[in-house]
Every structure is written in structure tokens, then in C-alpha cells.
């Protein structure tokens, strides 16, 4: 987006008469943009406005909306399950996302080592990430089966007593993180492409100066891929705040959020309110709070990252 960062917006905007060709191009542009414009109006702008209005109302399926002002937002403050869901989500964002980034980076470093069969290894690391979410989640339900699952039988064979992953509120979230780590191939590939862009002359120069492998990694590679870390961090945080399908499938036959609401994440609770309890107004208010949280997190990360991110060239 290089050219976009050069776009200058003046305020107040300066209006001048468009030239003939500008007018023509504008018309032409609008015709080409038609699919997006219509789509934006119907599938983005209208629902945004509607959901904003819903968030101040109570939705009745057969009667008109009932305006209740800030009541939905006030309810959130005293709704214990809302706070539980927010806490669960923050737990995943705070531990799951950094863990995945760290592990992805290490995997990318491994896959960047010059060894025979490199291409084959890369395919192996990447493959789980294209397994459909539902298939992958069900596979892990099976792997984490307390009696016959591969994970606990393997632990048992080395004398460890594996937890009852899905039934234990303390282990359900770590189990989901494990599932996340298994499918992190996309993040690994993004890191890997970043590692390949690190100029070899820098590494070679450091090598000549006697820097060891660890020093080269710490002083050259990690700073050089810091923009990618920032990208992965932001997309990871945004994605994790919307974590839904895995948690929905992972409960198996149990109720949403089982066991003991330990997998009741923000989006799961939002879904439950909107589509199972039909509290569409409350769910809309939750959606707007989610949007604000995501925006604030993104801005905060961008702000803090200024000091830690190195942009070459």
C-alpha cells in the first residue's frame, strides 16, 4: 500500500470544477465499481446502521422494535456470563495468540534451515492448516479422548496421567490452543516468506564479524521480520476476538460453552443471545462493544509497535 500512504487529505476539502476527462473517468469508474457499491450499501452500510439501532432496542419477532436507550449496554455491566465470556476470550488472546506467533516463528526458522527435503518438510507443516475447521476440531476431539485418544494413551505410555481435556474447565482452553497450534501453517508460511526476504548480505556481514547463530537471529532476523510479527499479531488478535467455529464444534454433544462455560467465548455468547435466546438487541450491543474492543486493540498495537518495529528501506 505504498502509494496509499502518500495520499494527502486536506481539510477542509478543496472543491474545484472537474475537467472533462475527470468527469468521464468518474462515470466510468462508478460503472466498474457498481458491484461493490451495491454490495456495500446492502450488505455493509445498511446492516451497520440497523445493528446500531437494534443495540438500543429490544427485538420482538412479530412486533416493532422497542426503544430502550442504553439498557442493553447497561445489562452487559451486570451480566456475569458476559464478563466470563470476555475473560475467556482475553485469556485466548493473551496466551493463545502470542504462543502461536512464537511457535510459528520457531517453525519458520526451522523450515528456513538449508537441509535436504526442505520442500517436503514445508508441506508437512502446512498441511494441517488447510484441513477444514470442523474436520480438524472433530479430529482433535478424538485425539483428546480421555481413554482411547492418541494424546492420553501416548502420555500414559511414558507414565503420565493425561487430563480429561474436554471435560475439565481448566484444560478445555489449552486443548483449543493445541488445536490452534496444529493449524498455524498459514502464519508459519507468512513468517517464512519474511525470513526469505532478510538480505543475505546482512547475515553474511554479521557472520564475518564473528556473530554466532543466536546473535544473528536476535540482532538481525527478529528485527527484520518485526513488521510481519506486527501483521500476524494484529490479524491474530482480531481473529481470536471472533473465535467461534472451533468452540462451537469442540463442545461435542454438550451445551454451548461446556464445560462450566470455560469455552464460552465472546462470539459464542453473542451467537447464543442473538440466535438461541433471540435477544437480537442485546447481541447487537455486544457486537458493537466487540467492534470497539477490536479497534482499540488494533490502534494500541500499532501505537506500541512504533518503538519495536523496524521497517527496512
Amino acid at each position: 500500500m505504498d502509494e496509499l500512504s502518500n495520499v494527502k487529505f486536506s481539510w477542509p476539502p478543496k472543491f474545484r470544477k472537474w475537467t472533462h476527462s475527470e468527469k468521464n473517468n468518474f462515470k466510468l469508474g462508478m460503472i466498474f465499481l457498481l458491484p461493490w457499491t451495491i454490495g456495500f450499501a446492502i450488505f455493509t452500510a445498511y446492516p451497520m446502521i440497523a445493528s446500531f439501532i437494534y443495540s438500543f432496542s429490544i427485538y420482538h419477532s412479530k412486533r416493532p422494535l422497542e426503544w430502550v436507550g442504553l439498557q442493553n449496554y447497561a445489562t452487559m455491566l451486570t451480566d456475569d456470563l458476559f464478563w466470563k465470556a470476555l475473560w475467556n476470550t482475553i485469556y485466548m488472546v493473551g496466551i493463545g495468540v502470542p504462543l502461536t506467533l512464537f511457535a510459528s516463528f520457531l517453525c519458520a526458522v526451522l523450515l528456513n534451515l538449508k537441509v535436504k527435503g526442505q520442500a517436503f518438510y514445508r508441506v508437512i507443516y502446512f498441511l494441517p492448516s488447510i484441513v477444514p475447521t470442523v474436520a480438524g476440531t472433530i479430529l482433535w476431539i478424538w485425539l483428546l479422548n480421555p481413554q482411547s485418544g492418541l494424546v492420553n494413551t501416548t502420555l500414559a505410555s511414558i507414565g503420565l496421567d493425561g487430563p480429561n481435556w474436554r471435560a475439565d474447565p481448566d484444560w478445555a482452553k489449552p486443548a483449543l490452543m493445541l488445536l490452534g497450534l496444529w493449524g498455524m501453517g498459514g502464519t508459519i508460511m507468512i513468517y517464512l516468506s519474511g525470513l526469505q526476504d532478510v538480505p543475505t548480505h546482512l547475515i553474511e556481514a554479521a557472520e564475518l564479524d564473528g556473530a554466532n547463530w543466536w546473535q544473528r537471529l536476535w540482532n538481525i532476523t527478529i528485527p527484520m521480520v518485526s513488521p510481519i510479527t506486527l501483521f500476524n499479531l494484529i490479524t491474530g488478535v482480531i481473529g481470536m476476538f471472533q473465535y467461534f467455529a472451533q468452540a462451537y464444534v469442540f463442545r461435542g454433544g454438550g451445551e454451548l460453552g461446556a464445560p462450566l462455560n470455560s469455552t464460552m467465548f465472546y462470539s459464542v455468547y453473542l451467537y447464543q443471545n442473538g440466535f438461541l435466546f433471540l435477544k437480537m438487541g442485546y447481541a447487537s450491543a455486544m457486537a458493537w462493544v466487540l467492534f470497539v474492543i477490536i479497534l482499540l486493540c488494533t490502534l494500541a498495537l500499532l501505537k506500541v509497535s512504533d518503538r519495536f518495529t523496524y521497517y527496512a528501506g
Binding site: W36, Y125, P132, I141, W142, I228
Partner: protein
């Protein structure tokens, strides 16, 4: 030239040998690390495939065995019965079990099938009969899983889900390709006032969580348009462009030399002709990327179908598999067979279009 002390042959060969040894150990450590971590990615995947081939009795065996085992069977009067090693007063004999009920098996000697020997399997602390197993891949799990589905009572099966997923994927790909290309072209090649501002608006929509628009969209499709429980809410919006694909296509279109378009313009070609006759034919790689990623997205999508599809006859593979898991929590071999069938098209697509996959991931992940 600086004065280097001249290296003798012995020193040289010694130096080379040290280096060779060092390289060997470096390679050994690298390979071991890569393989150790690789097992974490590979083993669960293999376990899905191996479980899919296991017989019902083998799935819950503890400790589990890697390869699928099944009973060795003999044919008696046209029917196959499992063979057992049975401890008899005359030593261990191979008998076929005609039926096993409440701990008592009706064994027969395959050589003399007329004489039935009822035997209690558990005599005291001793188990007198042990099933004879052999490595055997149970392919039958796949057709079984496919025809079973989750709700046999309403006449649906995984074949229905597969068909539904394919229909939705097909129309979504068509919609995505047709609607995003002109939009991306306008942002890449037509210089109209306000273009950059609009493009930033397009990118900004990526930031909007689906949860915000989900509820009004649901009510709009279900109540206003009456499209509830149909594929339309999943297909129709894809005919109206989306930020992600517009961005991807625009990045590519910008790399096509401007001079080619200018030359056509001089020859009197209209913008639409330049778009359809020059830019589109040159863009097959990126169109392939968009196709593959759209397919991947639709195939994987769970939330969309969950919101809009309510009756099992309209379920997609993702929804059907989740439903199956909720209904039959014990049929792990068939569940893994269904999961495998669900995964195979994507793995096949990946091996055919590996470059396209990686390219797409990098295009999305790169900062440009």
C-alpha cells in the same frame, strides 16, 4: 597479496575433514529438530486417515495400534464369521464364532461346522478365547459414512451435504470472479477523482467484524426476502465484490504494463474492451488464486451455513459433519472417514496448485 602461511596438504585435509564433520552434525541436528516438530503436524493428520480405516472393534483398543486391524474371518455356509483362538482341553484351537451373546459364544470348528460348542468367554479370571486379528484396511467405512449422514430418518446423507457444498462453492466462485474483477480494475487502472479515498473505504470494511452485520443480515434475508433455509443468503452476497478479493486482484492488475493498455487505447479500444480482452487474459494466475481461495473459504465456512441453513437436507459438509458428531459420538472410524472425504478435495487442490496457495498467503500477508 598478504602473506598467508602456506597450508600443507595434511593441514588442508584436516581442515576439510573437521568442516565435513561439523556440517554432518549440523545437518543431523537440523533434521532431528525439524522431524521432531514435524511429528506434531503429521501424526494427528495420519491418525485421522488410519482411524478412518479401522474396524469398529479396533477403534477403542487401548493402547491403540497404528495400523488398522480386523478380525480374520472364515466362510461357513456362505456367511463370514470371525475366527478365535480358543483354549480347549485339547489345546488351542481355531474356532469360528457364530454369535456372541452375554459372554457366551457359539463356536464351531470350521472343518466341522455342524457341531456347535457353546463356550463362556470368561472362565474365572481367564479369558478362553482371543479374536484373531490381521492388518486390514476397512474401505467399507467410507461408503458407510457417506450413506449414513447424521439424520437417516429424514433421508439425508453425506452425499447430500457434499452436493450442497459443491453447489454453493460453484456459484460463489462464479460470483466472486465476476464481481471483483471490474471493481479491482477500476481501482488499479481508471484514474477517477476520489479513487484513493474510496479504496481506503473498501479496505476499512475488512476491519468490521461479521458479528456487527450478522443480525440485521439474518433478519433481512429471512424475514424481508424470505430466503431462510436456502443457499441464496450464502451465494447472492458473493456477486457484489468483497474487500479481500478486490485488494488481491488490484495488486496483480497494477503489475500489468500500462503501455499495453495505452496502445490499445490509441487503437480506439474502450475501457471495457481493455479490461476483458487484455487485462483478464493476462491475469489467469491471480484468477486461479482467487478461485482456489474462494473454494477453500466456502468449503471451510461454518458460521454462514449455521446461521442460514436449518433443515438437514440443506446442510453443507461442515454443518453435516458437526451434526454427525453430535448424533453419533462413538462412531469414530466413520466420523474420521467423513472428515477425510471432507478434507481430500482441499489436499488434492493443494497438491495441484501448491504455488497458487503459497502465493495467495504471501499476497495477503505481505505489507505491500
Amino acid at each position: 597479496m598478504t602473506n598467508h602461511p602456506v597450508e600443507t596438504d595434511i593441514q588442508r585435509s584436516k581442515r576439510l575433514r573437521t568442516r565435513a564433520i561439523r556440517n554432518f552434525f549440523q545437518a543431523l541436528v537440523s533434521h532431528s529438530l525439524i522431524i521432531a516438530v514435524g511429528l506434531f503436524f503429521l501424526v494427528p493428520f495420519l491418525w485421522m486417515l488410519l482411524t478412518a480405516f479401522k474396524s469398529d472393534s479396533d477403534v477403542f483398543r487401548t493402547p491403540p495400534r497404528w495400523l488398522p486391524y480386523d478380525n480374520v474371518r472364515v466362510e461357513i455356509n456362505g456367511k463370514a464369521y470371525p475366527l478365535y483362538n480358543v483354549k480347549t482341553p485339547e489345546g488351542i484351537k481355531q474356532y469360528a464364532a457364530l454369535k456372541i451373546q452375554s459372554g457366551v459364544a457359539d463356536f464351531v470348528d470350521p472343518a466341522n461346522p455342524e457341531v456347535v460348542i457353546p463356550t463362556e468367554l470368561q472362565q474365572g479370571t481367564e479369558r478362553v478365547a482371543e479374536a484373531i486379528m490381521e492388518v486390514s484396511f476397512r474401505w467399507q467405512n467410507f461408503p458407510d459414512a457417506m450413506s449414513r449422514g447424521s439424520r437417516p430418518t429424514v433421508g439425508t446423507s453425506f452425499w447430500t451435504y457434499l452436493k450442497n457444498s459443491l453447489i454453493i462453492a460453484f456459484f460463489t466462485i462464479i460470483g466472486t470472479l465476476f464481481s471483483n474483477t471490474p471493481v479491482a480494475y477500476a481501482f488499479a487502472r481508471i484514474k477517477f477523482p476520489g479513487r484513493d479515498l474510496l479504496f481506503i473505504l473498501v479496505l476499512a470494511t475488512m476491519m468490521l467484524p461479521f458479528q456487527v452485520t450478522m443480525i440485521p443480515l439474518y433478519l433481512f434475508f429471512n424475514d424481508t426476502l424470505g430466503w431462510g433455509d436456502s443457499f441464496l443468503p450464502l451465494i447472492v452476497p458473493t456477486f457484489f465484490a468483497n474487500a479481500y478479493d478486490v485488494f488481491l486482484l488490484r495488486q496483480f492488475f497494477k503489475t500489468i504494463p500500462e503501455e499495453m493498455c495505452d496502445a490499445a487505447r490509441v487503437d480506439g479500444a474502450s475501457e471495457w474492451q481493455i479490461f476483458t480482452r487484455i487485462v483478464i487474459p493476462l491475469s489467469t494466475p491471480v484468477l486461479a488464486t482467487v478461485t482456489v481461495f474462494t473454494f477453500l473459504y466456502v468449503w471451510n465456512d461454518f458460521t454462514g451455513p449455521l446461521l442460514f441453513l436449518t433443515s438437514p437436507k440443506n446442510f453443507t459438509m461442515a454443518l453435516g459433519l458437526q451434526d454427525f458428531q453430535g448424533q453419533h459420538t462413538m462412531l469414530w472410524n466413520q466420523m474420521m472417514a467423513a472428515a477425510t472425504i471432507f478434507t481430500v478435495p482441499i489436499v488434492v487442490a493443494f497438491f495441484f496448485a501448491q504455488k497458487t496457495f503459497i502465493q495467495g498467503i504471501k499476497l495477503t500477508g505481505s505489507k505491500e
